[in-house]
Amino acid sequence: MNKSRRDFLKYCSLAGLGFACPGGMTSVLHADVKETPPYDGPFYLVFNASGGWDTTYLMDPKGINEMNRLYKEGDILTKGAHKFAPTEKTKSGGMSNEEFYNEFGDELLTFNGLDYSVNNHSPGARYMATGKLDSLAYPTFAALVAACNGPTCPLSFLTFGNYSATGNVVAMSRVPYLPSLQKIANADSIEGNLRSPYHDDFALSRIEQALGEQHAARAVQPHLPREERAMSMLYAAQVNSKALQRVTPFIPSTNPKGRLAQQAEIALASFKAGVCVSANLSIGQFDSHANNDTDQMKLIPEFLEGIAYVLRRAEAQKIREKLVVIVQSEMGRTPTYNKGNGKDHWSIGSAMFLGPRIKGNRVIGATDDKQFGVPLDPKSLACCKDSDKEKGIKIRPEHIHTALREHAGIAEHPLSKKFPLVIPEKERLKGFWG
């Protein structure tokens, strides 16, 4: 693919319009349609504990005030700067906190005391995914970074669940099973067999040329905005889909068993092939209104095992150093148990981060002994004591997302500006990533 065409695609994507840019594209579209170069990272994985995790059984341990029945304050463990709940003896399958922190604690940044502001799943999930509570129009971070960094990737934004709105800036891809990728990787060959093309190469080239000419001719005609967007995205989807054939070598012959691992293999194969920028990975059932400890001791270890699987597989595939990992949930759980031994919704929680240019072995923010968020000084990132509370602010998803956009280098991107996260300059988290 020539550079001018690549630049053109990039330019169009800035407008969220794929190819629908007025004027000047005819020569570009007349150029030979060749596959886009592989996207080379960074790659973004957003792990979501759907339903609301109990942070006191992971990165924000308490063991006081009858908050946890499975351990006491004195049982809390540490690994470097991290404090975590012991789960080795109480977990039901999966990976214990001990194992997880031992393996990844040095790389891990934890934020505690995140204020979700709401107590409900849908708005909480939307808020955590986009950084904006009161809009249905905003894209998730994963969608936004995909649109900014890899608009021409055929599977730019993969999702396996959780809130996945795109803000119309990029198409969402759902690939439910690994074999699905195999089925579509060689679309111009009969049954995907490269030795049996549907058309001779000269005929296929003529088809692509005719489609390109048609697109160019129509692009200069007036269209309703919806139609303009649709034509652009359709053309881009078909052209860019050719790059999917790069995925084939990276599809593993066997399917792993874990829920997250299955999703991860699809994402990793797509990353490795350079056809994907970001993916939402998600497992549910964290909403432990009944029997909190039983559920959380099954799900948190499963969740951690899934994260560890991804990181190890990424290491094996040599893309680990390009992988930015965000670990989150849409809410926390109450400090007290209800009558059914469960815990209800709590609007304070945590998030974890790991990846390039994220300094690990750090914990920012805190909750107090009643599991309320402690105000944070955004300049120093220090928790404010009672006497100093006026310096502190509640850290909400928009603060985290602003920092995420800055980390990804997309804060000034036109698409980010189209979806502003308005926080006062004095509330920006300084040095959040270390």
Partner: protein, 785 residues
């Protein structure tokens, strides 16, 4: 300052009001005892400002949540009426009352400052705390209203004059021609191309022919398939978990639910075949149970019954298989045309449920299960199950969304410190104003479902052992408590009120829009600081006005849902197809942002379109069996519940596979048929070569124009640039092949299967036509609606 757009919105929204002199704009509105008359000099400017600014930007968004009957602030002196809950003839009066209430409050001062502003900003005691931050645009609007009310008469604030030159909303927008509108409608609603008779009717009478055609189309079985599919996209009842016979039919109440396990299949001699037949019967039984709610919708529409029956019908639909499971087969079997057809449905009233233990018996004063349309179906109740802690709130939320068009969690209010509120109150949902604002509306509806209190695979009917929760607002509907004696028929009581609520008709019209366009109606814009706010507001308002107009006719014509479909199809929103000239104005572009159907076809729709055009479907986009439908943005009604609206690269690949495959299957096959039986190439043979003669080229161009019509629905002339491009594609491939010189004289092996007789391809024309078809199938006009 009022803009032309604002004035246009005002004119469109309140056409009758603008005919009145400024001073008497609300003169006819009834002033109740609480409504102080306002000084005449304030009426004009405040009227327009109220309607155009204060109401949509502040009052409807913020104040109305609590300050309404049944709301958290219902005991305050400041009560508003929700215009969306008013019928046409009372809506203006409601707004007039609301305005009067605001004027009265705006005139009251405390320590020299407006009490209204002090309340809104939380500077004096206000149940809703800080409703408007002083720096917010909403606060500025309220402050301006207060200023206008209290300012002495100022000529500069004279009543606004309607902008007579404001262009109509659809000005400059091209509409589909009648022929293409017809094709869009028949494909969308009946999965077929228009008939010659329909085309002739449209050619002769234009748009006037459409209502009769639509009426006929909506009697076809294919329409009901589409209707069921569309409503499942909304209600998602096909996604109810588990084996239907165990999930929907409880162990306690339906001892015959596993009747199929005892079916002997005496007529089948061998064990293996009997097993297979048993599996098939079980599958069909479960599928038939799943379909019941959607069949209820079909029945209501097919029989021309009022669509309010989806929430009031005192019956359910059952198939012969379902009837066996419910234990009523012997009573109803005579009513079936074919009692062995698993998918024939009839309306029946289920007897009140009898449990294995007496306490499991359902109370009923009629002896029947208290059916309330979809609401009381086991499928809907199972699809939205409850738990001890959820307390039916999911069902309440879905009730509002499905039947009144209100998504209570759509834009949840931010709570300044949600954790502190949760911890501070013993029962936050009844005590904390931040929570009460929603729960006072939601929880009474949750209470209506209190006797459907079984979890997981235990069915749905059953009372809570410890009685209904006392730390919730009691059962009722929007401020009206449910009388205790109505509890046995609580859902019927709710359904009756729902059907009378003006929001019901609007919600159904919105569902109609969703089915036809694949997307929801616009929401009012919220960001007052958005420079395109006015444009977005106008777009919303135009669509809302049309929605309400269709809802009005819907209600006036006995809630005939076919009228909803017909009105949308005939509307400018459905027919809008292009722009007369390029639009550079960002505000106008924002106004038009959602105009035009422009819907990427769902997998099922693609399959149907392929069938309509080629005679047989593709098959690979059918749901289940490891097909590509999920990858192509389909739904499973369980976890994936929203269809993809834009194509990803994966979908682009599927489009290419589809185009390649359909062209491969159909090109040589069509040529192998007698000319009179061909769908694609009725007037040409493979030996016609481009450039051979003027006649040959004309023949090819006519064939291409026919293909454009058949596949894309385009009415291109043989000399048009579009046909010219396709001609170049065809001729270029034939030429390239000739230049190559060496190629097989036969079509690709895979593409010459099932031919009626051999179709040799010595000149490469069959393959070139296949390429043409591939090209067309990748076009926007084929893949989108």
């Amino acid at each position: 300052m009022r803009t032309a757009t604002h004035q246009f919105i005002l004119r469109a929204a309140f056409p009758l009001l603008l005919l009145a002199p400024a001073g008497g704009l609300f003169g006819a509105a009834p002033d109740d005892a609480k409504t102080a008359p306002m000084p005449m000099q304030h009426r004009g400017p405040a009227d327009a400002f109220f309607l155009d600014e204060l109401w949509p930007k502040v009052a409807a968004q913020d104040c109305l949540k609590c300050h309404k009957p049944g709301g958290e602030a219902e005991d305050s002196e400041f009560i508003l009426r929700d215009p969306k809950r008013e019928k046409d003839d009372t809506r203006d009066a409601a707004l007039a009352e609301n305005r009067a209430a605001f004027v009265r409050m705006a005139a009251i001062k405390k320590d020299g400052e407006s009490r209204l502003l002090l309340k809104a900003s939380g500077k004096i005691k206000h149940g809703g705390k800080v409703a408007l931050e002083p720096a917010s645009a909403g606060y500025r609007v309220l402050a301006e209203f207060v200023r206008r009310v209290n300012a002495p008469a100022d000529p500069k604030l004279a009543p606004a004059v309607v902008e007579k030159n404001a262009p109509p909303f659809f000005d400059g927008i091209l509409m589909l021609d009648d022929r293409r509108l017809l094709r869009r409608a028949t494909l969308s609603l009946a999965a077929r191309l228009p008939t010659d008779a329909e085309l002739s009717a449209v050619a002769a009478k234009g748009l006037k022919a459409m209502p009769a055609i639509l009426e006929a189309v909506m009697k076809e079985d294919a329409f009901y398939n589409r209707l069921r599919e569309g409503f499942n996209d909304i209600f998602l009842t096909l996604g109810a978990d588990g084996n239907a016979d165990q999930t929907f039919l409880s162990y306690d109440h339906f001892p015959q639910r596993h009747w199929y396990q005892k079916w002997e299949f005496k007529e089948i001699p061998d064990e293996g075949s009997r097993k297979k037949a048993g599996y098939k019967m079980a599958d069909e039984y479960r599928k038939a149970l799943h379909l019941e709610p959607l069949k209820l919708i079909e029945h209501i529409v097919r029989e021309g019954k009022p669509f309010t029956e989806i929430i009031t019908a005192d019956y359910m639909m059952v198939s012969p298989y379902g009837a066996r499971g419910y234990g009523i087969f012997d009573e109803v079997k005579a009513k079936f045309k074919n009692p062995d057809d698993p998918f024939e449905y009839i309306p029946v009233r289920l007897p009140a449920l009898k449990g294995r233990a007496k306490q499991q018996d359902q109370e009923s004063k009629t002896g029947f299960y208290p059916h309330a349309g979809i609401l009381s179906t086991f499928q809907w109740l199972c699809r939205y199950p409850t738990t001890e802690t959820n307390r039916n709130r999911l069902r309440a939320r879905m009730y509002y969304q499905h039947f009144l068009g209100v998504d209570v969690l759509e834009l949840a209010a931010r709570v300044s410190d949600a954790a502190a509120v949760t911890a501070k109150y013993k029962v936050p949902t009844m005590e904390a104003s931040e929570c009460v604002v929603c729960h006072k509306t939601l929880d009474p509806i949750a209470g209506m479902f209190q006797d459907y209190w079984k979890f997981a695979d235990a069915g749905v009917y059953g009372k809570r052992k410890d009685g209904w929760f006392t730390d919730m607002f009691g059962a009722g509907f929007e401020g009206e408590d449910m009388p205790a004696e109505e509890r046995w028929r609580a859902l019927q009581w709710l359904g009756e009120r729902t059907a009378k609520d003006p929001r019901f008709a609007v919600a159904m019209v919105e569902h109609g829009y969703y089915i036809l366009t694949g997307r929801k109606v616009l929401l009012p814009p919220k960001d007052l600081d958005d420079p395109l706010y006015s444009a977005k507001r106008r777009a919303y308002h135009e669509q809302r006005t049309r929605t309400e107009a269709i809802a009005k006719r819907f209600a006036e014509t006995g809630f005939n849902f076919k009228n909803v479909i017909q009105d949308w199809v005939m509307s400018d929103f459905y027919r809008a197809d292009g722009l007369a000239s390029a639009e550079a104005n960002p505000a106008r572009k924002a106004e038009l942002d959602d105009i035009g159907v422009v819907r990427m076809l769902a997998p099922e729709q693609v399959e149907r379109k392929v069938t309509a055009i080629f005679g047989t479907g593709w098959g690979r986009l059918k749901h289940g069996d490891g097909g590509l439908d999920m990858l192509y943005g389909g739904i499973d009604s369980k976890e994936v519940t929203e269809r993809a609206t834009d194509p990803s690269g994966a979908m682009g690949a599927i489009q290419r596979i589809l185009a390649n495959d359909i062209a491969c299957r159909n090109t040589a096959l069509d040529f192998s048929r007698a000319p009179g039986e061909r769908k694609l190439f009725p007037k040409i043979e493979p030996d016609v070569l481009p450039g051979a003669s003027a006649e040959a080229d004309a023949n090819i161009r006519e064939t291409i124009a026919h293909l454009h019509q058949q596949v894309l629905g385009r009415n291109d002339s043989p000399a048009s640039p579009e046909v010219d491009r396709t001609f170049r594609l065809f001729a270029g491939i034939v030429s390239d092949a000739a230049e190559r010189g060496k190629f097989s004289p036969d079509e690709n092996y895979s593409c010459r299967q099932g031919l009626e007789h051999p179709v040799p391809d010595p000149k490469y024309t069959v393959r070139a036509w296949r390429a043409v078809l591939t090209y067309l199938l990748r076009n926007h006009e084929f893949l989108y609606e």
